[in-house]
Structures are given as C-alpha cells and as structure tokens.
Amino acid sequence: MSRTSLIEPVPAWDGFDDDLRLSRVAAGTPADCARFTIDGIQPERVLFPDSAEQVCRILQIASVRGVALVPAGFGAHLGLGGSLLRPFAVLSLAAINALVDHQPANMTVTAQAGMRVAELQDAVAQSGQWLPVEPPLPEATSVGGMISADLNGPSRFSQGTVRDLLIGITVARADGTIVKSGGRVVKNVAGYDLAKLYCGALGTLGVIVEATFKLRALPAAVTVARIPCSDMLEARELLERIRTAPLEPRLIELLTPVPTAGSDCVIVVGFSGSEEDVANQQETLRALVHGKMIEERAGKAAAAALAELRDANVRGEALLKLKASLLPTGLPAFVSALEDASAEHGLTMAVQAHAGNGIVRVHVRRPEAEATHRSAGTLVEELRAGAAALGGVLIVEQAAPDIKPELDIWGGEIEALPLMRRIKNALDPKRVLSPGRFVGGI
C-alpha cells in the first residue's frame, strides 16, 4: 500500500457542501447515493455537474476540502478495480451528454462523456455508421465510462479496442484545468497521445469530459454461428482450422462451463459485411466443420446473439469474475488449470473467451455451502499462477463485497509500477480521484 495513505486528509463535508451550493452544482438524492453503491459502500454525495466548468469547480473544491471523487457515468461498471480507500463522492457526468459533432463525411464523432453509448450508436446509425466498440450494457454505459474502464466486446478481434478508435480527448485535470490531446482527424501525431493514458485508468488520472472517435460503416449483413464441440480438444482443433481458413471473422468466441466433462462447449463465429461476403463465409465455415450441427442466425436473431455475448460478463451473479490475458494458444491449457481448481475447491465456473485475442473471462459461481474467504483468495492466486505459467496475467474484475477486501485485485507484479505511480503523482498529486481503485493501490 502506498505511503500517502497515512496522511490522507480528513474530508470536510460541510465546507464541501457549502462550496458546491455556491457553485450551483446539482446534488443527488439519497436514492442516487444508493444507486452508485460501490462494493457495498454508498457514496457520501452524488453530484451531477452540467458543464465542464462545473466539473472543474468540483475538482478544485474537492481538492481543498480533502474529498475523494469517483468519476462515473450511470454506475454500471463501478465494481471494477480495487476498493476505495476513503469515503467518497461520486461525480456523475450523466448531465453532460450532448453529441458535439458528427461528421459523417469524415467518419468521426465527438461526444460529451455522459452520453450513453447506445444513444451515440443510434445517432451515428442514421448516417449508416457505427462506433465499432461493444461495451456491455451500452444503454447504461457512458462514453466516458467506456473509455475509463476500457470496455470492449467480442468484435475487438476484428475492430480493435477503445484505444484504437479514440482519436482525441478532453479531460478535466485533478487541479481543475481543462486539457486536451489528439484532435478530430483520424491521423494525427502532434504532441503525445495522452488519450491512451486515460483509457482503462478507471478515472484515476482525470475526468473525461469529451471524446472523439473514428467511425466505420454499418455492415449490411451480420451472421452468428454456434458450433457445439464435445470437448476442449475438439474445440482447439476447430479454432485452429478457423484461424487458417480463408475467413475474416468479426469475432471468435469460446464458451464453456467448468467442469467441462459431460457438457458441451461452444465456439461462436460471427461475420459481418456485405450480404455476399457474409454468405460466402458462412458457406466456407459450414464446409470447414463438415457435417457438424451448427446453428446459424442472421438479421435480428444475430443481433440478439451478439448482444447476449456482449453483455454476458456483467450479467448474472457470481462470487468472482476474473479476466485472464493470455496468448491465444494458451487458452486450452488455461481451461485445464480451471478444471483442476474447480475440482480442488468444489466450485463451478463459466468461461467466455475472446479466443482470437487470448482474453478469457471466468465467472466463479457462489457455492451452495458458504466458501471461506481464504478459499477465494487461494483460488485467485492459483489461477493467477496458472495464467503466469502461460505468460499471461489475471485480474479480478468483480468480487462479492464480503470477499473483495481479502483479494489481490490486480496481482502483485505489475510491470513498470513505479512509472505508473509517477504518472499518478504528476496528474493527481493529492489523490483526489478514485484513490485505491487502480493497480498498486493508486
């Protein structure tokens, strides 16, 4: 834990409230506080600034009054990251939600951070375009939240991730100044690409107020095929065949329960493009799995299947939600490690992997008989060691509030952690923003 935690300021809530009233910042109701509960802890206040200037004011006031702020959108993804170190106020960007500039001819869009991703998609869809990022729950996810939490879906395999599409950003720094980097053109190397820093930083470096993205043309056709496999061996062999086939899949997912014995795993392959392109690829895929039953969906049914894949990680209760980053070839070995752990701890799990990217999500179900805290902690460490043995890493994305304090969320060995601390120190020296949520207790 960082040394600064010993000298954390004592928040002066009364003064904080007075200052906010003077600045006419809208404060939320107790119901809002309940809505933004993080790891079972309610925020002391929820604030709804209506302009970037108000965001800056709040940051300045918080820094003077010793109040910790958690930047947020609608609160759908606040369980990510470590537990907060002190009582906090939530700064919701929900009221800063305009579409700033959509240039269909240049395929770029600029939106304020509080805009819902689904609304952004609807707006650009009118010009036949989309932002090819699929955060879970797009109707409850803000643009700023999508960036901060680096929320990507299955199509990252072909479309890239938030960082690949983000071309400009405007941020309120912890000291209350507005700064930007990048711009509104798709190619630009003027100055450092600071937008990358805020991507996935969980709001610990600044409050994103506006962002510009590249767009792509909405595909004319989308299909999704589910291919059941009798075991991981077969799945592995099939993945290899898909990889080397003349296909350009939009996504390749692997879904399997653990223990896998006696139950199917499924490979999901999605295509999008012109009708002709997609039909041809489906044909190739069918030939590839020769005669195996595959369920194919197109149109609305395909869209529904995609939405289900996209949202799966945030839906459903689990004791633990883990994410491993591996080499794509490490996937089968990692699933065996899960098998071993499942047998040893008597736990069942569900796995969803972006198979082409080596990103694996594991949901560990809450056992019938109450598990001890120690067993959750050991499980995480065992699986982390399993991932490490394959050259990968593992983090805890979500944990039930009763076990979270016992867990190492990010893993002990973060490369370049001292540099990261120095970045935090440069941009938020008073540790106003989400203290404790990020790696190494940042």
Partner: protein, 466 residues
C-alpha cells in the same frame, strides 16, 4: 564508452560524424560529438547510466529517415544509434506476433512473416530503410494504414531503457496489460522517453485478394472530390493514394510505369479482403470515381503490375531529384471532405511565394504531403519554402486538421504547437514527459515550444536521394 560497446561501437571522427548531422529533414543540421552503437538492451542501459553519471544529454537514432528533424542533436552531444540491434528475436505465426530489436528495418519483418501468410501492416514509403524503433517513436503510417491502422495499433509491447538506465517493459506479449497504457503514450513520443530496444509487434494475415485501380483525373480537385466521396460512402479501401501532375511526370520520367503524363492527378485505390466480394467493392469505387470526373480507370492486371505501381508510389520522393536540387516534404492533415479546399489553398500559396509544389499523399485519411521544391543555394527561395510550408500547415489547422499526420513535430514544427494546444495542454504533456525523463536529457529541445533552441543552423546541403 568503448569498454561498454567495443572499439567498433563508437564513432568520433568528424568526417564520419557528418553522416549523422541530419535526418530526412535537411533544412537544419548539427552533428553529435560522438555516436555510440550498442548491441543489446544491457549495453544501452550501461551507456545511459554512464551518460547520466556524467550529466551528458543524448539523442536516440534509428536509421535517420525521419522527416521532422527528430534525431537532430540539439544540445545532446551523444547519439545512441540502434543500427546494430537489428535481429528479429522471435516470430510466432500462430499467435501472430513478432519480437524484434528496434534497429530492425521495417520491411524485414513482413519479409520474414510472409511465408506464414502474415505481414506487419504499417508500411511507410521508407519501409526499406526505416527502423522499427523509428516507427514506434514517430507512430508512423503508410499507404495501407488507412484500413488497418498506424503503428500504435500494431505494437503490443516495448522494452524501454529509461534515461537513467533503468529497463522497463511496457505492454507485453498479451493484450490488456494491467495498469496505465504507458505503451500507448510511448508510441509517438518521438524519442523523448528513453531508448526503445525491443518491440512486440502484431502481425496480420495477408489479404486473400487485392484489386488495385488507377483512376485518372483532370485536376487534383476532381481527384480529391472522389476521395471524399469514397470515404463518405463508407467504403474503406486498403489504400487511397494521390499523385498530382508534377509528381506523375517525375515518377514517369524515373520509372516508366506508363502513367498518363498529361493527367492532372491519379488516384491509386486498392481494395483487399476476401476474393468474393472484391469485384463489387471495386465497382463501387469505379462508379464514384467516374461520377467525380475520372477520365480513365485502369485495373492492375496481376501482382507484377500492382507491385510496380506501388514501387512508383513509394519511390516518388526519390524521383524528385530530377526536378530540383532540394525539396521539403510537408505533412499535414485535413478532414477528407476538406481535401479539395486545401489543394486549392496549396496552389495559391505556391503561387504567392513563387514556388513549385507537388503533391503525393495518403488521400484516404486526409494526410497531405505537399512537396516544396527549391535550391538551397538560393537563400531567398529557401526562406520562402519555410514560410510557405508554415502557411500550408496553418491552413490545415484552420480546416480542422493537424500540422502533422505521421512525421512528427521534431524540431521542424515546434512553433506550430501553440496553434493546436493551449499552454495547459502543453504543460500536461511536459509533465508526462518529466515522468520518463525528469532531467530533460533524452532528446532535449524537441516538440515543445518551451524548448530553448541551442543550435546554429548550418547551410543545408543537397538532399540525399532515397
């Protein structure tokens, strides 16, 4: 130094040093006092530790093809050249990754990956000569980065030796490394964060098929209107490159490809992907070009013709030596629908300054490269080149673009930074820089206007032909 890098790893003779006095941006020159050529990450670390102990600033250098003076030593007596770190360390075709030392030449990676049906996407026109370290530092693009993204989208990790000699790994072999995306800021940091010694690169499958069209227009304005209509129509060609009349003539004289010498502009549009859908996409591009005044459209018959065409495009700069003793290649960006406007402005600026300006550029992403011809012996003309270049870039900014799309700020464009960034924006970038280089000893006096210029500009010499 010799103890660290060996006797043959240090260059200090003045005539040898003059090779290192500029990169592809030749308007300013300054030679280092010595050049050090380490062979490993460990040697780089030892070199930087020694320099730190002695308090000597340094500048990293790849192969010196940069076009903004990025590796020009300005108050940095020592140059660290990566050219001896030129090994491909690992190529993993199944996971589609390559691990390379930073002195590896860009084109070597694709050459090695090709037998596995893969390639490294970023393909700067200088790809036969530029290094991966330079690509990382400049976040380089190329004709085919329109569809597939520039360097930053294809690098998974780097090994960086910080200016104090500490070795850190940013990113890695797997995606989504936990922590801040320090890799993302390091790419494009123009050699101011330390020395990149290794990189983990993503490889991409070679497209199953390609279709390459050459559309001929009466004017650059017509060609630009076609580009803007293609992009607006949601078609993403793999590449969309334009050459204007002056460049067509120079290239034709040099390479005899068979370009229509009288054309006002030609547009190279390449579509790639799966065989089946290509014909139709090509048909759409053809229609858009015709609707925008294309007088002729040719299709490359086979791979040989296609490769010959790309060779001409990529060697266009080299052909310019025939037109003038010197040239300055500018690099600006406008939103694609403003291309017709910026092309008009460039012509007007050229006229006002009595200069010849050619254009050969990555049209699809609005990344223009006006090429200003001059003779360095003519002082007045040289000054007009500098003034006209600035004016063009100001116009790019006015139209909503950027003063650099891929060549970087370097020394060349420092004065333009306040046009697009506020003092607070710049302060923030400098604070981030100080995290990596607190003593301001790694490639000092670059990028930021606060940098004090400490160099005497010598009269430029003839441009080396590429």
């Amino acid at each position: 130094m010799q103890d660290i890098v060996g006797d043959d790893g240090v260059v200090s003779h003045p005539t040898e040093l003059s090779v290192y006095d500029c990169d592809g941006y030749t308007l300013e020159k300054s030679a280092p006092d010595i050049v050090v050529l380490p062979r490993s990450t460990g040697e780089v670390a030892a070199v930087l530790k020694l320099l730190r102990r002695e308090g000597v600033p340094f500048v990293p250098r790849g192969t010196g093809t940069g076009l903004s003076g990025g590796c020009l030593p300005l108050g940095a007596p020592v140059m660290v050249s990566l050219t001896r770190m030129n090994r491909i360390l690992d190529l993993d075709p199944v996971n589609r990754r390559a691990v390379v030392q930073s002195g590896v030449i860009n084109a070597w990676v694709s050459r090695e990956a090709r037998p596995h049906g893969l390639h490294f996407v970023p393909d700067p026109s200088s790809q036969m000569a530029c290094s991966i370290g330079g690509n990382v530092a400049e976040n380089s693009g190329g004709p085919h980065t329109l569809k597939y993204g520039v360097t930053t989208n294809h690098v998974l990790g780097v090994t960086l030796v910080l200016p104090d000699g500490e070795v850190v790994r940013l990113g890695g072999m797997t995606e989504d490394a936990p922590g801040y995306d320090l890799l993302g800021v390091t790419v494009g940091s123009e050699g101011t964060f330390g020395v990149v010694t290794e990189a983990v690169l993503k490889l991409h499958p070679l497209p199953q098929a390609c279709k390459t069209l050459l559309a001929v227009f009466d004017s650059v304005a017509d060609g630009s209107a076609a580009v803007s209509a293609i992009i607006a129509g949601g078609i993403v060609p793999a590449a969309l490159e334009m050459l204007d009349h002056m460049i067509i003539q120079a290239v034709e004289d040099a390479f005899h490809f068979g370009f229509p010498r009288n054309a006002g502009a030609v547009l190279i549009a390449e579509l790639d992907g799966l065989e089946a859908g290509l014909e139709r996409a090509a048909g759409r591009v053809r229609n858009v070009c015709e609707a925008n005044g294309a007088t002729e459209i040719r299709v490359a018959r086979d791979d040989r013709e296609r490769e010959a065409l790309w060779k001409c495009r990529k060697r266009a700069f080299g052909a310019l030596g025939r037109l003038a003793p010197n040239f300055c290649c500018q690099d600006g960006v406008v939103p694609p629908n403003r291309l017709p406007e910026i092309m008009e402005r460039i012509a007007a600026i050229g006229k006002a300054h009595d200069l010849r300006i050619g254009n050969v550029f990555h049209a699809g992403d609005g990344n223009i490269h006006p090429i200003l011809l001059y003779d360095e012996r003519d002082r007045d003309e040289t000054e007009r080149v500098v003034a006209a270049g600035r004016e063009i870039l100001r116009e790019c900014v006015r139209l909503g673009g950027s003063p650099t799309g891929e060549h970087g700020i370097g020394v060349e464009k420092v004065a333009l930074m306040p046009l697009i960034f506020t003092p607070d924006d710049l302060r923030t970038m400098e604070e981030v820089r100080a995290v990596f280089d607190p003593d301001d000893c790694c490639n000092p006096n670059k990028i930021f206007p606060s940098a004090e210029r400490q160099v005497e500009v010598r009269a430029p010499r003839r441009q080396a032909a590429m």
